[in-house]
Symmetry: C2
Subunit: 453 residues, 2 copies
């Protein structure tokens, strides 16, 4: 393990091979929590200044960052890492400029901390406010893309959270250099650098996952396997999703052109994306149009696996087996199943889906409304591609992740998913026992919040 | 175990001594989830009608309910149950009328399901709405008060959630009769009664706590011990708090009368409440006024345990030991500690508090603001009693519980804590790949929600 905190921090382990002790990890997490309390209660302008400083550091240190990245790239090529992985690992002047721009934009946004989401006059001189507050300490675990250090690190700073970052080992040098930018930006504005820490090594992660009293949220960014293994090994809440089994349902009167457009986009745009479709559900009355849909997909190299009724219209399709329903192929493979109506489609989705994103193509507004109302999933669409389920496309700004949990945040999660609330009450000496039958009574007047969400 | 579901449900176990099988519990939870999907997607008026029906049933069945309750009371007296427990167990015509009134009020409230909390025009003809939705299936575990069946059951119905209720064994007959009211109210309006189920026996609870795929939230209402044991034995999110270690800090220039008023209310109003104070922090400059505060508390039978500086002003106080800080007495005992300034008080609170409710008494607005900004707790008060931390006093209507978690809901939780959101997108055939450099671009225009939260 190696940890990146200040020299005076007790959590520093100078060797990257030292095995992590529970004590040093506890000290590390506690140092992040203490620093976070200063960051989170600092004026919002100061967090904005840190972000602007970070944006400039990314420009100023371009040469250093690219040099660090080159070390990782050389090691990756020497280890024969697959080309797409090397591509994701690579930083470039253009990528750094885009990152810096993104941080500038975030710096320009209104600070969310302390914003009132509810105000109530409980009685004369007794005012209650529910205000947004940082969650606390986040543990972010991500795979090869070093960009994530800045993307998630800057969202964490904007929302006043402390953050412990664990990237993939193939990006060690890049991640270290980027974490230093975050820490130096904090220190340059007089805030404690320890609000951001980098860690390395799996044992460090396992140790941190046990610290549910010090870490408030884990955000894994990577494969379903990564997410599942983390969910299985911690009591800390995990924001994310392990599976993306999304369906596109073609209703009886779906426009055939639209059906083709959305099926192709849903399956072929980015087959390994979590919001790509895995199964096409087809209303029996739409079957005459299915051959055209099948051809468009096959032309783009999609392997089709159809039930008997659909297969009768698709000469090249393989027969689907029970295992196809609910499988996340993450590849150019698509299961196809015939259903009798919207309700049957919804029942299939509830049985086999992962409650991520579900879409209907229909010409009947009532069917669309029924689908929207009945499908129990994070995102539910009418006549639009499942691929829209994304924080950027939703206009949330940068995305922390997509959550399929029902608790806390659901669907694409932006900076609001990194916030909780506190209740602030300002009185003039009122005791609870002053109120009751025969005594004072509550007014409970809801007041507008100046800045509605 | 015994379960209360319809006769046709596979989950019915007719004998109350049968040991619960995992299969039958899974069937039970699945039946609740299926029924919940119908309840949660029914029109809001229908949920209102169910609540009105429930309110009338409570009146119509008064005799039956009191007879069932009498069986529990007789058994409790025969078992020599402590008098306060018997008191909590008892239903009366007045209590039933109050419950019925509460349900009527809830029925009159706007239905929260489907209410938009965010609307964005992503592009022409591509409208995104984030709408409130039921969480799903709740498991409520409560101790002796049978009133909780109706109080929490009605909140669950209002928010479209399914609910599995497990009450204390001493209230078995009362709970059964009340659960039947909930189920019959659903059935009378044509909704599936299985959205509400009653279970009995600890083994059933243990089994259900393993069903994290079918149960979305556990709400334990009872002792810290109960909450801790549940938190330790499930992967399902738990809404609640195990500890309520609250502090009242008397600043240098606190008004002595106000200090007495709030200290007495905080400690003596209801000493076993989670929002009662356990430690009084006193600014060194306030010490001359401490004897008056101590006398007011001692007159009400409070045992004081003070540090050396405070004890010098309180001749009858016992010496505080390190173990007093952070102890939840739940009784007429109060620890007292001297501090040098607001920051020292905040540091003590962060070290020993449970992040439940913290209050300052001060004459200096800047100290109050500093306290509000810096204290990291669910509720933070200036010049008001910690006992205000309560859903009813906050004007939230009925209270589900008080959460000290930072995830999902924090502080007193009303019906909003039983809701999540879904993202609904209505388009006209847009694919994600239609957008990008050289193609269409997003508008991302935030629109007002007609019904701001």
């Amino acid at each position: 393990m190696s940890v990146t905190t200040s020299p005076e921090s007790p959590a520093v382990a100078s060797s990257s091979t030292a095995s992590p002790s529970t004590d040093s990890l506890t000290d590390l997490a506690r140092a992040v929590r203490d620093a976070q309390r200063r960051l989170g209660t600092a004026p919002g302008e100061l967090r904005g200044a840190v972000l602007r400083r970070l944006a400039s550091l990314l420009a100023e240190r371009e040469a250093e960052l690219l040099a660090a990245n080159r070390l990782d790239l050389d090691a990756a090529r020497a280890a024969d890492l697959a080309a797409p992985l090397v591509g994701r690992l690579e930083l470039s002047p253009a990528k750094l400029a885009t990152l810096s721009e993104g941080v500038e934009q975030l710096a320009a946004e209104a600070d969310p901390v302390g914003r009132a989401v509810r105000r109530t006059e409980i009685d004369d001189g007794l005012m209650l406010r529910q205000v947004q507050s940082p969650l606390g300490v986040l543990l972010i675990i991500f795979e090869s893309r070093p960009d994530a250090v800045i993307q998630i690190g800057s969202l964490a700073l904007r929302s006043g959270n402390g953050v412990i970052l664990k990237g993939g080992s193939e990006a060690t040098e890049s991640n270290r250099a980027l974490v230093e930018c975050l820490r130096d930006a904090l220190a340059a504005e007089g805030l404690p650098a320890d609000a951001v820490a980098g860690i390395e090594g799996r044992e460090a992660v396992s140790g941190l996952l046990e610290l549910d009293a010090l870490i408030d949220l884990v955000i894994p960014r990577g494969s379903g396997e990564l997410v599942r293994s983390i969910q299985a090994s911690t009591r800390i809440p995990v924001l994310g999703h392990a599976d993306g089994v999304c369906h596109l349902y073609l209703d009886a009167d779906a426009d055939p052109e639209m059906a083709i457009h959305l099926a192709v986009d849903g399956k072929c745009g980015y087959p390994s994306a979590c919001n790509a479709i895995e199964t096409l559900l087809v209303h029996r009355d739409f079957l005459p149009h299915l051959p055209a849909v099948g051809r468009a997909l096959a032309d783009r190299g999609v392997e089709l696996r159809a039930d008997a009724e659909a297969a009768a219209r698709l000469p090249d399709a393989l027969p689907a087996t029970g295992e196809d329903w609910g499988t996340e192929y993450g590849a150019l493979t698509l299961a196809i199943r015939t259903v009798g109506d919207v309700d049957e489609a919804v029942a299939h989705i509830h049985r086999y889906g992962s409650a991520h994103t579900e879409a209907i193509v229909t010409g009947t507004p009532e069917s669309g409304e029924r689908f929207l109302r009945r499908v129990d999933a994070a995102s539910v669409f009418v006549n639009a591609s499942t691929r829209f389920a994304d924080g950027y496309r939703y206009g949330l700004g940068a995305e922390v992740g997509i959550s399929t949990s029902r608790i806390h945040a659901r669907g694409p999660v932006g900076v609001e998913g990194l916030l909780t609330t506190r209740w602030l009450l300002e009185g003039s000496g009122q005791a609870a026992d002053d109120y009751g039958p025969g005594k004072k009574s509550f007014k409970h007047r809801r007041l507008p919040v100046t800045d509605p969400r």
